[in-house]
Symmetry: C2
Subunit: 448 residues, 2 copies
Amino acid sequence: MLQAQGVTERLAHFIVATRWDHLPPAVVHEAKRALMNFFAVALTGSHDPTIETALKVLAGFSGGGEAAIIGRRERIDALNAAFLNAAGANVLDFCDTHVSTAIHPTAPVAPALLALAETKPVSGRDVLLALVLGNEIECRIGLAMSPGHYRKGWHITSTCGVFGAAAGAGKLLGLGTTQMIWALGIAAMQSAGICECLGTPAKSVGVGNAARNGLLSALLAAKNFEGPLDPLNGVQGYYHAMGEQPDLTALTKTLGDNWEILGTAYKPYPCGFVIHPVLDCVLDWRREHSDAVVERVVVTGNPLLATRTDRPKIATGREAQVSTQHAVAAALITGQAGVAQFTDACVNDPQVSTLRGKVGVVRDESFPPTSAAVEIVTADGQTHRVSQKAARGSAENPMSDNALEAKLRAAARDAIPGHDISPLIAAIWDLDNKQDVSRLATLAVPRQ
Amino acid sequence: MLQAQGVTERLAHFIVATRWDHLPPAVVHEAKRALMNFFAVALTGSHDPTIETALKVLAGFSGGGEAAIIGRRERIDALNAAFLNAAGANVLDFCDTHVSTAIHPTAPVAPALLALAETKPVSGRDVLLALVLGNEIECRIGLAMSPGHYRKGWHITSTCGVFGAAAGAGKLLGLGTTQMIWALGIAAMQSAGICECLGTPAKSVGVGNAARNGLLSALLAAKNFEGPLDPLNGVQGYYHAMGEQPDLTALTKTLGDNWEILGTAYKPYPCGFVIHPVLDCVLDWRREHSDAVVERVVVTGNPLLATRTDRPKIATGREAQVSTQHAVAAALITGQAGVAQFTDACVNDPQVSTLRGKVGVVRDESFPPTSAAVEIVTADGQTHRVSQKAARGSAENPMSDNALEAKLRAAARDAIPGHDISPLIAAIWDLDNKQDVSRLATLAVPRQ
């Protein structure tokens, strides 16, 4: 059993002491994949009304234009860029997921690093190492209080993200161990966010703040702005206030041997994860039967599928994200399941609306949540059966590098039409050979 | 018993519906006193190293110079001004205190209002009304989870201050009820701060954020940036996440009849409140016996006095704030108990250091915490006995208007020597007759 005292110091020491050559190749590669996915989701969210409004309000208080806002021509100061890029990456719930905690780890961390990289010279290896460490600290701090913390109603991506951004930005800034403890303490002072705000723009303030305030924590600590010795586990520390009996072993066990970033999943579709195996079936079938007229669909899956997503009647794009009926109908009509399929416009499409009424959902406890079977009856009277054992993007069937590239290409096509995103993709895969990454985020910005 | 649902709406409706002519004269007067004290403590903190560093870091990201930083020549954007003025007002623990919750209510609220007042035309009555309502909401949200919340280790001034700043700024911005619910929801998403950070600069980030993020909440809500319907008491709402069974009656009982601002106390001395009656005795005696040489002192008080402040050996100004021995010695040597008496320099003064060794603390359960008795033995062999039943600044013996004015004058003398603070004092007492208060904070800034 670990000593209660000093657990923050152990994490801080680990962050400071870990070097590039400590990272296994698989971890480096996963960090590149996380960045690929991050840029895709940040582009996808970059013109959401939530981001438009936040930008309008924050721009009035911003000083410099030193940092890029992904997908947009405007530039803004680094703190606000961190806020907007994090909020944008998470706004459509299309982020990566740390499966053991349900944290969306990269959205709060990467924007803090990219903003900082525009203000001081750092290499691609510096950024990859900082991203790995930021995600590691964020996920472990969450793991130590999972699943209780999220269950109480804390938005774990926001509450833990601020630690990840502080750790990552602190690494990029070259903090010493004591400064890193302070950075984590200043982050602890700012850890916030409740699940009641999910489904509303208010959520995005939590995710944006996680990135901004984590970056601020590191910048303050770099100027010797002090904090307590053990902010996480002190007698009035973070875990105590949260009412948690933290599993301290989750914080430090196998630190440096097991890497949490390897436990990250990516979403191929911007909707509830339980619908994903259903969409795999429907899209695969449609590709083979592009002319078939669908009469009726029956979807069978884990009871969670029906509990969360048996919604034949919906009115908005946001509701569509948790409606199996809608996802199936939209995918059959358009042959796709991208952001455009989960908008108000698609919900109100008469063809989609009619087909929604012909989709049923059946519970079957023998199905794991990542599997599904679909029965499609076509106008010629034939019944077609398709099934998926492990959804694409699940731990058992991870998205391939090509699929992540395609996700980024599709996002760029929608958000910044006509912009060539290939240089960004090439830069991400080659990041460990880049000496200067100050312009990385700018590769996802439309030309002036 | 109130219905759980809609409690945020009831508060929002109250904020929106309350007009100037609903405020009793005593409430208006107390708001002016709170502002008088606020400017005093903000001036006192304005050059603290914590504020210097925060200003240095934040100025790099700031856009405009639309708002004053109290006590300083620099100007900065309104969000950062709210942060810095709140952090500065609280940094030395010299703030007002809402006695039932231990919230320091004005530090997070007033800076948000003053910053906003520099960007849009508002009257003195607008600001006073917004201050009363901001403090009211902040204190009631805290009351409903007191004393459990603070006891767990939440820094209640930071966690509840963000609601107060959002409510007050929202009132100044003229939000409707739905927008006000959103503002409180965005504030709930940002409510943060742990007591582990007390005694370190990290604390100030919590108090500064409360003001900044509350103001941001109101500004976003004014642009129809939405939040949930009942952020406080929804199923995954603020109280649920905090693990509290809130006393909902504390939120809304006698709303508009009883005013929490009337339950505010002000500190005459920048040190632990339990030492205050001791200082009353010592300072009064010293005024009458300016030439007497002190041989020995015995202080008798509530057991809390000894538990918290029986510290004959100290090394820093911060420790001095919780040392009866130091407070007594410094007051006897200098005849004062201001900020200068709780610095490292005063702790290291050889005369003060010697006298600290001659002060004893005795426990007596018959003494309430606001009372004390002091026995002073002088070089001529005489024993002098002085006592205080209710410390100045306690609820039973509140600081007079003159004493608050004097506190502000002394603070201005130290922070901005040569600056005439009388126009600010006159403006505060006459605030309900001022049509334009955009330059109020500027009256506490040294001439260029």
